[in-house]
Amino acid sequence: MGKLFDELKKDILYQHGMNACLNCGVCTAVCPAAEFNDYSPREVMNTVQSECDEDIKELLKSDKIWYCGQCFSCKTRCPRGNSAASVILALRRLSIRHGYFAESEKGRQQLFAKRVFGQNMLDRGYTLLAKNISPAHFPELGENWEYYYEHMEEMRQWWDVPMDLENSPGSHRQIPEQDLDEIRAIYQKTGAIALMEAVEKAMEKKLGSKAEVEKYWQTWLETGDSRNYELKGENKS
């Protein structure tokens, strides 16, 4: 038992997601992420259940908590009614609050999540805009997407869901400023804004300066793979 665990215990997602785990492995067996990565929801649950701060800290600094795709298959199978996916969410928040996410490669991708999905939410009320999905980053979407990406504005006119029209149907509509203010107020009140700020702050600390964070961001924008940014000196991990 320790401070990290006590903080985790206060998270409602932890309270709802964790009854005593009996380590039967049904979650890991059904988990799509566990099939391809060095990741096991059962091990995460077991680490958390140990209430050992040292182990939890190691977990928060590792890639492991970022592999979960939030499909909640674990929840539907668990004989004890646990939800590993919910516990993972609580761990992610804890990792961000303490800046531990910046210690792992998968964790550092929170910067993109924050700057893309987070910022989109505050600016547009949507997590993902068609404009974000550049063909260079998503070559697997093929020629059709490439055509759409380049003729988005025109094509959406044909379909009668024009870009940036206030209150029109479709993901590219413009939400009235007054409603966006409400969304922002919710994000402020629920602590989401604080989490976003924590992401920027911890990245700056990890990479050494604001300028380095921008370099990291640019690397990703240009190449679609943050691993092309090389960590310097002591920060290598």
Binding site: C27, T28, A29, A34, C78
Partner: protein, 370 residues
């Protein structure tokens, strides 16, 4: 007061109780809803841990029923009156006087189709432990295509210890039964590989652990600690299982010719309203006290035995039936003593017990009106 006792349910607990009550000199009417006595046990092949033939057990208990009136193909539809003057009405329209009633209505097997991910009723080679037992009895363990299986997986805790189906309890007998049928398969098909997928092994009775050990040492049955997440059917009818071997922390896939689902017990509460019996959150009947009044219901004069009050092995059900017989005899004896106007003070603890001297009973202790 008449001296007839009505026993509802002709499984091993009901038969054991009826036989013992007859031995004590009571008249007994045994009501069985099916056309044959024997309950679930009559369907089994051999039972753990000593491979006694289930038929031998049934025949032994039946042999003790001489002088007992058995009504088959009948259920109880109504119970009137209070102890010791009950009137029991059957679905066949009969009215039977009873000084006391024993409810020994047993369990129902868990419906494996509720665990959809195991493919019961969807894949031909996903079967229940009940179906496997019938195959063993016929010496015809075979896949849907009629071939002897080369690889079998047995799934523990199907419908037990599982919040997803609202059965949080352990059914107690499935682990040892798995070990037993695994040995039987090995005897009938020696080159068949058997994998038992378990969460915990609960072989708790005398001779059970030894049976478990024998299955590993002598028969090479494999035990993998992991719960099955789901089964998928391949084009050849074999089944692909996804699980984690939690002891080596490795997600694994296992292809088997046959999947056996070790189904647990579900409470049978058909008489809850008719007999005014309380049901626990596990949906088995509640006893007057879990520790020391486990054959008494909260209703005076109505007793309980066998798996009606929770999962039990066969031997335990028989013992429980005979224990209920002793409780009933003592209960009826108290009325006889009262009629003889002798000193009753010695039986007060018992009287207060059945009248509600514990936390689960709402009826305040009252002097007997008889």
């Amino acid at each position: 007061m008449n001296k007839n006792i009505v026993v509802i349910g002709g499984g091993v607990a009901g038969m054991a109780a009826a036989g013992k009550l007859r031995e004590f000199g009571y008249e007994v009417t045994l009501i069985e809803k099916e056309k044959e006595l024997g309950g679930n046990v009559k369907n089994w092949y051999k039972v753990f841990p000593d491979f006694t033939d289930a038929a031998e057990i049934i025949n032994k208990l039946k042999g003790e029923l001489k002088g007992i009136r058995v009504i088959n193909n009948a259920t109880v539809t109504q119970i009137n009156g209070v102890a010791p003057n009950f009137e029991v009405i059957t679905s066949t329209g009969e009215k039977i006087d009873a000084a006391s009633i024993l409810v020994a209505t047993g369990f129902k097997p868990f419906n494996a189709a509720l665990k959809e991910e195991y493919g019961y009723g969807i894949y031909n080679n996903s079967i229940t432990s009940i179906e496997l037992d019938a195959m063993l009895k016929q010496h015809q363990v075979q896949t849907a295509s009629g071939k002897p299986p080369q690889k079998i997986a047995m799934i523990h805790c199907v419908g037990s210890r599982d919040q997803q189906v609202n059965n949080n309890y352990c059914s107690r007998v499935c682990c040892t039964n798995t070990v037993k049928v695994a040995i039987e398969i090995k005897e009938q098909i020696p080159d068949c590989e058997i994998y038992c997928l378990y969460m915990d092994i609960r072989v708790f009775g005398r001779g059970y652990e030894e049976l478990y050990r024998t299955s590993q040492e002598k028969f090479g049955v494999q035990f993998i600690r992991g719960r099955l997440s789901e089964a998928g059917e391949k084009t050849d009818g074999s089944l692909l299982l996804r699980l984690e071997d939690t002891l080596t922390a490795k997600p694994m896939r296992l292809t088997v010719d046959m999947l056996v689902l070790m189904v647990g017990m579900v409470g049978n509460t058909e008489l809850a309203e008719i007999a005014d019996l309380k049901v626990g959150c596990d949906r088995f009947y509640t006893t007057a006290h879990e520790q020391y009044s486990n054959n008494n219901s909260e209703k005076k004069g109505i007793f309980l035995a066998g798996t009606a009050t929770g999962p039990k092995a066969i031997m335990e059900s028989i013992t429980d039936g005979r224990s209920a017989a002793a409780e009933i005899a003592a209960f009826l004896h108290s009325f006889t003593l009262e009629n003889m106007s002798c000193d009753l003070s010695f039986r007060q603890p018992f009287a207060s017990m059945i009248a509600g001297g514990n936390q689960f009973c709402n009826t305040p202790p009252q002097p007997s009106p008889y």
